[in-house]
Symmetry: C2
Subunit: 178 residues, 2 copies
DNA sequence: CTTCCATATATCTGACAGATATGTCCGAAC
DNA sequence: GTTCGGACATATCTGTCAGATATATGGAAG
């Protein structure tokens, strides 16, 4: 686990609130930050193992009672590592838009191929707006401090603005498409 | 090279315009689609080798005259593969915003740590807007058809809208920050 | 009673970014 | 005239990560 890895920190961040299993961590990520952050089990489980080996989390396994279950709890070292990382300037995200690539390359094959892609983009943006509006409503229902809700709503807000910008762009491109 | 790989297609797309070396392909990518697509040499050179092995591009090496130089030209098979891919619906991009992750987790450590990150985001958005405005001006100077310019400008336009949305969001977050 | 879904863990493959290594050619400073 | 830096040019290696796959349990619906 080098400098660049970020999976450790989202896990440490969520474990600050309460101890969880890997499965629960994944579900929580999807529910709370799924609109701007994804994790996969292929990344999650090895990272938890590594975090445990480095003493940033502690683990309590309960194979008894049938179902496998490993509950992870953040340690003081883990909290320290997280806060150190949070203070560092965030690295710019690597963007790779397949939609825009196809728009750019559409100059090769005619705009007719492009229309379905733009229509799909409008539908996706609308779905995203619907989803984020529901998330925004859910945040208020969440048992959390006012400050926590404000930070969370901030992330939802940028998601909404981006989705709306994308929708407006795609609709304009469709109406202009000669 | 599986179904999911997209590096091959940007290379094929650019080689539709003119034969190029790997180095020139990288420079062209940065100049034309750098605002929404990046490539690295570690991905580019092996992909060109593979594309050649599969007969989607032809290669003409000229080690003579000192400097190494391999010029790649797209084949009919390459063009066919590209157009097949362009017709497929674009896969949604995986988003992973380190800035938003730190905003979300800021509920743990106080907003004071957040302000420098938001100020950096405003600066980055301004830089991006400046850059894309310059790109937009450069597109008109480019020797290309009207249709090509339209497709290209469309990608620049979404970049500008996104950057403006991000700037507005970050400025609002800063002014609201109690 | 079995089929389907949520819970739960784990590994493997392939895509990809970033770093590193190596070497040439050319123009400018010195 | 030579050395130094930057553009040109190729290539590989490491580590991060997404997605697919494998495996197994418990509970609810049918």
């Amino acid at each position: 686990m080098s400098e660049r890895a970020r999976t450790p920190y989202i896990l440490l961040g969520l474990l600050c609130h309460e101890p969880m299993t890997g499965y629960e961590l994944n579900a929580t990520i999807q529910r709370t930050v799924g609109h701007f952050w994804q994790e996969s089990f292929g990344q999650l489980y090895p990272t938890l193992k590594d975090l445990h080996a480095r003493g940033l989390v502690s683990m309590s396994a309960s194979a008894a009672g049938g179902r496998d279950r490993k509950v992870y709890t953040i340690t003081d070292d883990g909290r320290a590592a997280l806060f150190r990382w949070l203070a560092e300037p965030p690295q710019p995200s690597v963007v790779r838009s397949e939609l825009l690539l196809k728009v750019f390359l559409a100059s090769l094959g005619g705009v007719d191929d492009l229309r379905p892609h733009l229509e799909a983009a409008v539908r996706a943006a609308n779905a995203q707006i619907t989803h984020l509006t529901a998330v925004r409503a859910a945040v208020d229902a969440e048992p959390a401090t006012e400050h926590q809700r404000r930070c969370w709503l901030l992330t939802v807000d940028l998601g909404l603005r981006s989705a709306e910008a994308t929708r407006a762009w795609a609709e304009r491109a469709l109406s202009e498409g000669t």
